[in-house]
């Protein structure tokens, strides 16, 4: 078992009780990176971030520096949007970043806006996160008052306004184009990509960068220590550290900042500083490696490293950094149904396959759980799923088939539809027998 000795970066102030105040933040080195950045040219800042190879932490894992490079030249104004809508079941790592270290996020955002020449920034915070909203608002006011935000920041002549916006309780606005629609005052429904990606036409149809809270929280450190220093942590492809939200049947669920690549899922579950082993010493049944929408992995995949490449090859993804552990007492049918119910409930309703298909899947699964299942329901579930997310489902590693790359194919507008299918396939593929027990006996062996 290898617990890396790489020092944490963005979670260092989680235990500092006044880190959310301006004083507390300044006392521990706050806003020094901003000063440093303002002394550089925007391009130099951009180069540092590119060198860091800092993967986005919202789910898709696209490197931040490369994404910023997609902004079309000479099209202004451009906007910067922070995605703080974190709502995927199991994912709870942006929340402490906003609640406990809001200035770190603001500082990261300022530096990023400076690098890309954004005219205005927006922080979109999930509607239910009251404390995060309050702390961010106070922090932003303080930063304005102290001259870190607003006109002529720190006497540099550079100005930026930051606008806070609270969501209204929909998971789908975490999807960047739905978030943009919501910011514009429309219903939170994703836009179809293509034709336009936010970098080309985003908020108010202007070039826009959307980045996750965690992604931006790493920026001050990257500026302070240089992109190369960041890229040196982890492995060549899986660079740096990352927050993982570990939940489920482990002894010590929690949010841990771990080194990418070198750490494995087994480390995360078993290391005393992380999960501390399985609850009650039970056996592992399955785990979700990257948030509710990620296809499940199984005990034989526990030694995979925390690295998008191998996890992708195994047919799943690191996604939003939420690892959910299920032990042998879990009813696979019920667990899958809970996830399906979530996605069906959160479907925005814009496109037919997700709106209708998601709810249909949920109804069939509910019926099976209620003891009214039919054997043909399994094929029906798989076929309905295929009409939302066509083609072979990613479970190749154990099957010896070729990897089916993520994201899956979809008949939908956004990946939420296929996310509904993910738990259905994962559970039927591995635990068909449990379904049959429900169907034939009308109940469950897991009590």
């Amino acid at each position: 078992m290898a617990v890396s000795d790489a020092a944490p970066i963005i979670s260092t102030r989680f235990d500092q009780t006044d880190a959310h105040t301006l004083d507390g933040y300044l006392r521990t080195g706050g806003y020094a990176a901003l000063r440093k950045a303002l002394a550089m040219t925007p391009d130099q800042v951009l180069e540092e971030v590119k060198a860091a190879n800092l993967a986005g932490r919202g789910g898709a894992g696209f490197p931040a520096g490369a994404k910023w490079g997609f902004l079309p030249e000479d099209v202004f104004p451009r906007y910067f949007v922070v995605n703080g809508d974190e709502s995927e079941p199991g994912t709870c790592k942006d929340r402490p970043l906003m609640e406990r270290d809001p200035h770190q996020l603001i500082e990261g955002l300022l530096i990023s806006c400076y690098a890309v020449g954004a005219a205005q920034a927006f922080i979109y915070v999930r509607g239910e996160m009251a404390l995060a909203q309050e702390r961010l608002a106070i922090a932003l006011n303080g930063a304005y008052a102290a001259g870190y935000v607003g006109k002529d920041i720190l006497g540099s002549g550079w100005s930026l306004d930051v606008v806070l916006h609270w969501g209204a309780g929909a998971y789908i606005v975490g999807e960047e184009t739905a978030l943009i629609e919501s910011l514009e005052g429309q219903r939170g429904m994703p836009r179809l990509k293509p034709p336009y990606f936010p970098a080309a036409k985003g908020l108010y149809m202007q070039p826009t960068v959307v980045n996750n809270v965690e992604t931006l929280s790493y920026i001050p450190w990257v500026l302070q220590h240089g992109g190369e220093a960041y890229a040196a942590i982890g492995t060549e492809k899986a660079t740096g550290l990352r927050l993982f939200a570990l939940s489920g049947h482990v002894r010590r669920p929690g949010v841990y900042e771990v080194e990418m690549g070198t750490t494995t899922f087994r480390d995360l579950v078993e290391a005393p500083v992380y999960g501390g082993g399985m609850r009650h010493g039970n056996a592992l049944k399955a785990f979700i490696p990257g948030g509710a929408s990620a296809p499940w992995l199984y005990p034989e995949q526990l030694d995979l490293g925390l690295d998008a490449g191998p996890v992708g090859a195994a047919g799943s993804m690191l996604g939003s950094g939420a690892v959910v552990i299920m032990d042998e007492t879990t009813c696979a049918v019920r667990a899958a149904w809970r996830l399906v119910r979530f996605f069906a409930h959160e479907s925005c309703g814009k496109c037919t396959p997700c709106r209708e298909g998601g709810a249909w899947l949920e109804k069939i699964m509910r019926r099976i759980l209620d003891g009214y299942g039919r054997e043909e329901d399994l094929d029906l579930l798989l076929d309905v799923g295929d009409n939302i997310s066509p083609g072979p489902f990613p479970h190749p590693a154990s099957d010896g088939e070729d990897a089916v790359p993520f994201p899956f194919k979809q008949t939908t507008i956004c990946p939420l539809g296929p996310s509904t299918v993910s738990p259905v396939y994962s559970s039927i593929w591995r635990f068909r027998d449990e379904y049959l027990v429900h169907i034939k006996e009308g109940g469950c062996h897991h009590g």
């Binding site: 293509p194 034709p195 069906a344 309703g349 496109c351 037919t352 396959p353 009409n387 194919k409 008949t411």
Partner: protein, 927 residues
């Protein structure tokens, strides 16, 4: 490398088409064209629900998903969102495409109530047809379906059945994007998503019926049509709406000899498939029980009108006319009206009046329009030209209220394509929010405002307010907009409480300063433009020629022509009031409702010797006639109509007229016989051939052309002798769907009707709906070529201006009155669904003018002018400038017509309170 790139780019630019492989065949597509549209042009119909060619694509329903390979391997993509690209491969038939489409269809059906037997859409429903064609025989869905309360009214005209809705976003997009009335929207989320209105805020849009037409299922239902017919019982013909003079192209449908539905047909130059609700639903009046089905005659000395036979009635009419002619001379005969019928009707009456009646006192307008010479003689613009102009100048009534679909076109030009509108208006209108500059003027003073805007020698001082209201700076800014490039002026009567003269003078000033300006008349009555073209105005002969100038030409075929210019409507009515009219003929005219000065009209009807009325209904005016002849209405007769552009398009009979009612032209012809003459035609076709032969502006506009694909869009008269405009071959789209078939093809595309969505081997359920060829012999009469002696059409030249603005009376307010879409007009009045929508006569007053009276919105005020006195409800309205008051024209009950004296330059009124003064606090801006 870079060089090669550059070269490639240049080649790309030069290329006007891209080549796409569609199901293995190479097809040419236009750059930027969507796959779904390109495929359709090449005969491959990709199923769809949300895509609509006149609205922004949303890619929501996923029905059009097909495998598209843009070089990185085939992927499922919605064809409605994917623009074509060179080398793209599209597979609409692959197993993956079919599976995905079948999956989407199944998803749409699982919660669908399948109540087809009681659904208006059953039989013409894309969902039903798709399901019949491809759907699974049996449902795999055994769960309970989603339930909503069955149809809920979302407006006075439209019901919504949410269980049937497939959430395609068409209605909601239409309301927002096209109509600019975003009053319906999605509410709730996911599987509970539904279309609905906002609480307490109905979908009160003038265009709501379009949502019913474009809804791909039976979720939106029109109250006037609901449960009235099944599609397989419907017959339809191509026609043109004549409820106003935009001339929207339509399909008219009937069941059991009753009109039941009008559908918009998509033609590029006019209505794009849209209709306004008045045009869509006023067919109700055609089938009204109040229609006149037999002639009525007032026996000498009798109180009441009594039914009579046609021969009795025509004899009585001929006698009345002859007596007037003999006793008081032909100049004592006058004909009012004719703007509501066909061109053939108008021509027949124009000819009858000029020949057998012997009078030139004819007028299709009711003193509520513009001088006929200006309408026919000003350089005319088309709607397309107006929308494409650098600047559009609005100098007329509220286009949204009077010519609704023109409003849609202008709105699109502004909102989607950045056109610039400059509005000159006495009060705020429905166009104001789209105007780059909107200048107010005091009633009667528009000429001064226009002079300040365009006459560069008239320097505007900083403290001046040309036209009484607009600050000098605003005038200068607007003036710059008028000189930016091409300018089209929409010209009409901004208010009926002042004469047309200031507006005409303003047009003269404009034309003097900016001679390239073209004009689009804003006149409402259905065929007013056609009636004027046919010479239903004093001094004007058919084909836009003057009486004197045309006399030698027409005298060859018309027996005799009146000696001198006759009277216009105001002159006729004044003469009648003074007892100088021996016989007054009302051809679908109701001066008591339409003439701006009701008191004068009343005296005219009392003072006229003999009154003959030709009408569909007994109106206030026709009730006072001595003989009433029942006329066929819209849908009951064929012919042609002409819109504000001068565009001639065809009308076709769909149902039979009630009783023995007949077309106006036929009545004219029969009357001619009874007068001992013969107009020389016996069918609309022979009339049209005569028009084409004799009317210079209509030369070459043959029946054959009108019936051809080119004629489907309508053909603009007055331009036909210009080889450039009609010399070329008909456009591609038109050749694809020739003539009347075209109407069907267009409607099909538009309503997603059956066959287009179905398989080839499935019998086309819409075939029962085929447009009946109304004229199986086809258009006969070829062009007659150039005939020597044919006079040139009139060109209008500004006359002397009426002089300065009327003196200001600081103790009075100036009245502004203009039409609303829904009023007390005959057709609205007799359409049960529309009549209740008339807003009523309420007096809009600037809050600052209302405050001194100590009252607010809702107070009853007495309004007094030199002419009369009415009591009205006041509404505080900041859109009305201080010093003016606004009143909707022709609403039920007393109103503006009781206040106007047509001899005065402006109508000045005083207000007095009647009710106990209400506290004014907070109600001031309660407009």
């Amino acid at each position: 490398m870079a060089e090669a790139d550059q070269k490639e780019k240049e080649e790309e630019k030069e290329k006007t088409t891209v080549t796409v492989t569609l199901d293995g065949q190479d097809i040419e597509a236009e750059p930027g064209e969507l796959v779904i549209a390109a495929a359709e042009r090449h005969g491959t119909y990709i199923p769809r629900f949300c895509y609509h060619p006149r609205m922004r694509e949303v890619g929501m329903c996923r029905m059009c998903i097909v495998e598209i390979d843009s070089g990185r391997g085939p992927a499922l993509q919605p064809a409605c969102m994917a623009p074509v690209a060179d080398g793209m491969k599209v597979d609409t038939e692959s197993a993956r495409t079919k599976k995905a489409q079948d999956g989407v269809l199944e998803f749409l059906l699982i919660n669908h109530p399948l109540d087809c037997p009681v659904c208006d859409k059953g039989g013409e429903c894309p969902l039903q047809d798709q399901t019949l064609a491809f759907g699974p025989g049996e449902s795999r869905f055994v769960e309970e379906k989603r339930h909503f309360e069955k149809p809920i009214p979302i407006s006075d005209l439209v019901y919504l059945d949410r269980e049937r809705c497939v959430l395609c976003d068409r209605c909601t997009r239409f309301a927002d994007e096209v109509a600019g009335d975003p009053l319906i929207s999605f509410i709730d989320r996911g599987n509970h998503t539904q279309v609905n209105t906002f609480p307490d805020d109905p979908f009160a849009s003038y265009f709501s019926g379009n949502t019913v037409q474009i809804c791909p299922v039976g979720a939106l239902l029109a109250r006037p049509y609901r449960f009235r017919a099944r599609p397989w019982d419907l017959d339809q013909v191509e026609s043109t709406c004549t409820a106003c003079s935009v001339g929207c192209r339509i399909a008219v449908q009937s069941s059991s000899n009753r009109l039941v539905r009008k559908l918009g047909v998509d033609v590029d130059p006019v209505n794009w498939g849209w209709l306004c609700d008045k045009g869509r639903f006023d067919f109700e009046a055609v089938g009204s029980d109040d229609r006149l089905g037999a002639p009525l005659v007032r026996a000498p000395g009798a109180e009441d009108l009594a039914e009579a036979s046609w021969s009795q009635a025509l004899a009585a009419a001929a006698e009345g006319i002859t007596r007037a002619r003999i006793r008081r001379g032909p100049e004592s005969i006058a004909v009012l009206g004719g703007a509501r019928g066909t061109n053939e009707d108008a021509y027949a009456w124009s000819k009858l009046a000029r020949t057998l009646l012997g009078t030139d006192s004819v007028d299709a307008q009711m003193g509520d329009g513009l001088p006929a010479e200006a309408v026919v003689g000003l350089p005319r613009a088309t709607i397309d030209a107006a929308c494409a102009a650098d600047t559009i100048l609005l100098l007329g009534p509220d286009v949204k209220e009077e010519l609704p679909v023109l409003y849609l076109r202008l709105r699109e030009a502004v909102v989607e394509r950045g056109a610039t509108l400059v509005e000159l208006s006495p009060v705020e209108t429905g166009m104001t929010r789209y105007a780059e500059a909107s200048l107010r003027y005091r009633p009667g003073e528009v000429t001064e405002l226009v002079r300040a805007l365009v006459d560069e020698s008239a320097a505007v001082g900083d403290s001046e307010r040309p036209g009484g209201l607009a600050p000098a700076s605003a005038v200068r800014e607007a003036a710059a907009l008028l000189r930016r490039g091409s300018l089209v002026c929409l010209l009409g009567r901004p208010s009926l409480a002042e004469p047309a003269q200031p507006v005409v003078d303003a047009a003269g000033v404009l034309l003097d300063a900016l001679p390239e300006t073209t004009f689009l008349p804003v006149l409402r009555r259905g065929n007013v433009a056609g009636a004027l073209d046919m010479g239903l105005a004093p001094g004007l002969l058919p084909g836009r020629i003057g009486l004197d100038q045309g006399r030698p030409w027409l005298a060859r075929e018309w027996e005799a022509l009146p000696g001198g210019r006759g009277l216009d409507a105001q002159g006729i009515i004044t003469a009648a009031a003074e007892g100088r009219v021996g016989c007054l003929v009302l051809v679908g005219a109701d001066p008591l409702a339409d003439f701006p000065d009701r008191e004068l009209a009343r005296r005219a009807l009392a003072g006229a010797g003999f009154v003959l009325a030709v009408d569909c209904f007994l109106t206030d005016s026709s009730r006072r006639a001595d003989v009433v002849l029942p006329a066929a209405a819209f849908g009951e007769k064929s012919g042609t109509t002409t819109n504000i552009e001068g565009r001639v398009s065809r009308l076709h009979q769909k149902v039979t007229a009630p009783g023995t009612a007949r077309a106006d032209w036929m009545i004219a012809a029969e009357l001619a016989f009874h007068l001992g003459g013969d107009l020389g035609f016996d069918s609309v076709d022979t009339i049209w051939d005569e028009i084409e032969r004799l009317a210079p502006s209509h030369q070459g506009l043959t029946r054959a052309r009108l019936a051809s694909p080119e004629g489907f869009d309508g053909i603009v008269a007055g331009t036909v002798h210009d080889a450039e405009t009609h010399g070329g071959p008909p456009s591609m789209a038109q050749t694809d769907s020739p003539g009347i078939q075209g109407a069907l093809a267009h409607t099909k595309v538009d309503t997603l009707a059956s066959s287009a969505m179905g398989t080839a081997d499935k019998p086309d359920p819409s075939s029962g709906l085929a447009m009946q060829p109304p004229d199986p012999s086809g258009g006969g009469g070829g062009g007659t070529g150039t005939v020597a002696g044919r006079p040139a059409v009139l060109r209008w030249t500004p006359g002397p201006s009426a002089g300065g603005p009327p003196p200001l009376d600081r103790y009075s307010l100036r009245l502004v009155t203009s039409r609303r879409l829904y009023d007390d007009g005959t057709f609205v009045h007799h359409s049960p669904s529309l009549a209740p929508l008339a807003p009523g006569a309420r007096l809009g007053v600037n809050p600052a003018d209302l405050a001194p009276l100590g009252v607010g919105t809702g107070a009853r005020v007495q309004v007094t002018s030199g002419r009369g006195r009415v009591v009205l409800e006041a509404v505080a309205d900041p859109g009305v400038p201080q010093g003016s008051v606004a009143l909707a024209w022709n609403q039920p009950g007393p109103g503006a017509a009781d206040l106007i004296d047509v001899t005065l330059a402006v109508t000045e009124v005083r207000l007095e309170t009647l009710s106990v003064p209400a506290p004014t606090s907070g109600r001031g801006s309660d407009a």
